[in-house]
């Protein structure tokens, strides 16, 4: 029986090794990366630089650093070290994307349905991505509460959650919530809203309801704390839907709003002003280049595709210059994938911006520090600086080049993706196969 047990354990280890080839093997979080061209994003490139990581935190950046005993040393000559890539708009690592039955579902929380087993996490790591904002879909005008995850593949879901990030609530506007590209099933009525007018009206209605709800609770609390509260005083019904919206109005949540056309963006920003809630960023924002003044005035950034366009009517004026032009105008821009496939080549997507007017540095910022700022985690990640968490990616060529390849992805000093290790594993597997 013992033999069977140990064989089973061996197999489990083998499977774990497949899942996370390195992470469990290493002394956690201690690394020295040598001789890399460091692109810190926060400053000029450092050729032949070294980064020392202790307990997952960047301790030193410089040259001729010495590694403490037990720390792994990574020789990276000829390679480029960048901050881990951050994708500000994905739906990966979730069981389900939309609660699409109702136009208003702020009561749902992505944190309830994280699936740490989603292979998309690994896929993203192979492209140097270390952090994602994983969101409710765009089926509803008001979706759910999103979550920011670090892609610690092989770790339990609760260890993935980045608690320091802005808590955000997904809104969506335009064709998706209008359901204009949807086949209407027989016997089912068209859902409200079917127009952009309706979408805005619904948001206003729900926020007014949420205000009412807050007032009800205030009245209850006052009465309860009064000198002679009624004996049978009943608290209001706790409504999870309105609780979330109340949190938005209280400033505890930030809106992240899927929007394409100029008008709906302008109108949403007006709503935000009217109700005094915060907008962390506009998603997709294909026509942002038309309303740069309004975006600047509102101080709202955008999270966009570089050039994935023309897949529906509202994306037909989505020009590849959008990200570059908005950046030039001073808007905070990040590039997102919104896809469990594109996520692994987000660096290529950012690289395209160079063609449309940005420098390589500016392009790289869109998937690192800009993204971190939009998620409220720029004090932790997004650049290579002493004191920040060691979320890093190593590329064999400049990451903004079409010819580059991600070699290694590191989160808090742990190696979660190592191409060379994968190649080695493959060779060994092939040898085993050949040997049998």
């Amino acid at each position: 029986m013992k033999v069977v047990i140990s064989r089973t354990i061996l197999f489990i280890i083998f499977v774990l090794a497949l899942l996370a080839p390195e992470s469990y093997l290493l002394a956690a979080g201690n690394l020295l990366i040598k001789n890399a061209t460091i692109l810190p994003v926060s400053g000029p490139p450092i050729p032949g630089g070294e980064v020392l990581i202790i307990d997952g935190i960047i301790k030193q950046i410089g040259k001729n650093l010495s590694a403490p005993a037990g720390a792994r040393v990574i020789e990276a000559s000829g390679k480029y070290l960048i901050p881990g890539i951050i994708d500000t708009h994905t739906h990966l690592a979730l069981s389900g994307t939309n609660e699409g039955t109702d136009a208003i579902t702020p009561e749902v929380r992505m944190a309830d349905v994280i699936n740490a087993d989603d292979p998309a996490i690994f896929t993203a790591l192979t492209g140097g991505v270390t952090m994602v904002h994983t969101m409710h879909g765009s089926a509803n005008v008001i979706g759910g509460v999103n979550v920011v995850l670090k892609l610690k593949w092989g770790q339990p879901s609760e260890k993935l959650v980045v608690k320091e990030a802005f808590p955000t609530l997904k809104f969506a506007l335009g064709e998706n919530v209008k359901q204009s590209n949807r086949v209407l099933l027989p016997g089912r009525p068209q859902r409200y809203p079917a127009t952009r007018m309706g979408a805005n009206a619904i948001i206003r209605r729900e926020l007014l309801r949420a205000k009412d709800y807050m007032t009800q609770w205030e009245r209850y609390e006052k009465l309860k704390n009064s000198k002679n509260p009624p004996r049978n005083l009943l608290p209001p019904r706790k409504d999870l839907r309105l609780e979330t919206l109340a949190d938005l109005l209280r400033g505890k949540l930030y809106a992240r709003t899927h929007a394409y056309v100029a008008t709906e963006m302008v109108e949403f920003l007006r709503l935000a002003k009217e109700f005094g809630f915060k907008v962390a960023a506009l998603e997709h924002a294909w026509e942002a280049y038309k309303i740069t003044d309004e975006l600047l005035a509102a101080g709202v950034g955008i999270s966009v595709f570089i050039d994935s366009w023309a897949y529906k009517m509202e994306a037909a004026e989505g020009i590849a210059y959008n990200a570059a032009y908005c950046t030039r105008r001073g808007i905070l821009v990040s590039i997102n994938s919104d896809s469990s496939e594109r996520v692994r080549r987000l660096f290529n997507e950012a690289g395209k911006a160079v063609k449309y007017g940005l420098t390589q540095d500016e392009a790289l910022k869109m998937i690192t520090i800009n993204a971190a700022r939009q998620l409220g985690v720029d004090h932790l990640v997004g650049s290579i600086e002493v004191g920040k968490q060691a979320d890093l990616a190593l590329f064999d060529q400049h990451p903004m080049s079409a010819y580059t390849r991600c070699e290694m992805t590191i989160i808090e000093g742990d190696v979660y993706f190592d191409r060379q290790q994968i190649l080695k594993n493959r060779e060994e597997a092939a040898a085993r196969k050949g040997g049998n």
């Binding site: 069981s95 389900g96 349905v113 879901s157 027989p186 089912r188 049978n232 009943l234």
Partner: protein
């Protein structure tokens, strides 16, 4: 093959009385089938002699005697210490081993499950979509009322040693309330040990209506729990002081939840993968429920969470990885290997982590249930722990530890006699006693 009433002990003075009694009994037997439980009957008395005994509550007895009377264990112990009552029918059990009857604390026996027809054409699909807008929520459902016990099923479960089962509903998110049954007959009323036992909740979704996603389901459950608390509070306030308080509108859904959410009767969460376990634990914590987790074939992956939680586990020996599991996501070879080598070790891991659990055959046929228990043992679970997980542990989780789970004086006479070690592949169950009713399963040709 099966003695329903068994040989009754007739304490008779004369032949006449005996005849009268015989007629009465005959009448009773006829009547009892039409109106079960109409009258009290006195169960038979047996003396099982010369058997090896695994009482589970104590060390095994190599050669012992068990006295059973009227459905209960009257006495048991070393052969030389137990006096066989004069009225007991002696059953020679030399070469057999007695165990407490096994308990599978999550099954869906005796239910006529309507197969949901898969639409085949686009038209069927579309129409099915618009028809399925009825919510599939049944918090008030008593599965007991739906039972259609069949002797055949009963016997096939006896043959793998199971004498007690939980039968749980299986549709919707709020699935309804389960029942604990002794497999003693095909008469539901006679079978009941606990009715209802628990509210069963599954993290599934509705089709086409809210909640249609897992995230919606979690929110839906939470809202219902909050609503129950509010509804209950409203009712209580109204009862104590109805003046200037509008009465609460009757809500059958929330009414059904009160015993579980407010009065803390058990709530069983079906956990199909590791994330479900964590989801359930969060809900149990948030609402301070008396939670039980079932399914849990990935429990070893969340051992850390389970250790501190003290939430009872009903671990199925269904080794098929859930669709969301990593083991289903990396190709057929990995999935098959996981099913054969990783998942069977679940129970062994839990044992190593000192997490107690009951084993169930949830999702499995009786033959797979038995086969997979053996596989779990091969993967490192100790046979002692396996036996406990099928007897005393489920009895404890069901709150029936004083009646069931071990062979002890005064407990319900649920026991099985096997030829060979319970968990050996070739071992056969020869005799089964449920509530003291004897069922014989002699091997053919012996």
């Amino acid at each position: 093959m099966k003695k329903r009433i068994g040989k009754l002990n007739l304490v008779s003075g004369s032949r006449k009385v005996f005849l009268l009694q015989a007629v009465a009994i005959l009448l009773f037997m006829i009547l009892s089938t039409s109106s079960p439980g109409a009258g009290e009957e006195v169960g038979p008395a047996y003396a099982l002699v010369n058997c090896k005994i695994f009482p589970v509550s104590g060390p095994p007895v190599e050669k012992g005697t068990i006295i059973i009377r009227d459905g209960l264990i009257e006495a048991l112990g070393y052969a030389e210490k137990i006096k066989i009552p004069e009225d007991a029918e002696i059953i020679e059990a030399g070469g057999l081993t007695a165990y407490p009857g096994l308990i599978s604390a999550h099954t869906n026996l005796f239910l006529e499950i309507k197969q949901q027809e898969q639409p085949q054409t686009p038209d069927e699909f579309l129409s099915s979509f618009s028809q399925l807008s009825e919510p599939q929520e049944f918090p008030e459902l008593q599965i007991f009322k739906e039972l259609k016990p069949k002797k055949q099923t009963l016997e096939s479960w006896h043959k793998i040693g199971v004498t007690t089962v939980v039968i749980a509903p299986g549709r919707g998110i709020f699935q309804g309330q389960s029942v604990v049954l002794n497999l003693n007959s095909d008469q539901p009323n006679q079978m009941v040990l606990k009715q209802p036992w628990a509210l069963h909740i599954n993290f599934t979704t509705e089709r086409g209506i809210y909640p249609s996603s897992l995230m919606g389901t979690v929110a839906f459950i939470r809202q219902k729990f909050y609503d129950t608390l509010h509804y209950d509070l409203h009712k209580k306030k109204y009862l104590s002081s109805p003046v200037f308080l509008k009465r609460p509108e009757y809500d059958h859904f929330l009414e059904a939840l009160i015993p579980f959410v407010v009065d803390k009767k058990p709530v069983v969460f079906q956990c199909n993968n590791q994330e479900d376990i964590k989801r359930a634990l969060r809900l149990i914590e948030e609402f301070k429920l008396k939670g039980v987790l079932t399914g849990c074939n990935e429990a070893w992956r969340v051992a850390d969470h389970l250790k501190g939680a003290g939430v009872p586990l009903l671990v199925t020996v269904d080794f098929r990885p859930a669709t969301a599991s990593i083991y289903s996501q990396q190709g057929e070879a990995v999935r098959k290997k996981a099913e054969a080598e990783v998942f069977p070790a679940n129970a062994a891991h839990l044992q190593k982590e000192n997490i107690t659990f009951a084993l169930t055959g949830f999702g499995l046929s009786e033959s797979s249930f038995r086969k997979n228990i053996q596989a779990a043992i091969k993967a490192g679970l100790s046979p002692e722990a396996a036996l406990k997980a099928l007897t005393v542990e489920p009895a404890r989780i069901l709150g029936l530890e004083r009646q069931l789970g071990t062979l002890e004086m005064g407990k319900i006479a649920n026991l099985i006699l096997t030829r060979g070690d319970l968990f050996d592949e070739k071992t056969k169950v020869i005799k089964v006693l449920v509530d003291g009713i004897l069922f014989n399963y002699e091997e053919k040709g012996q």
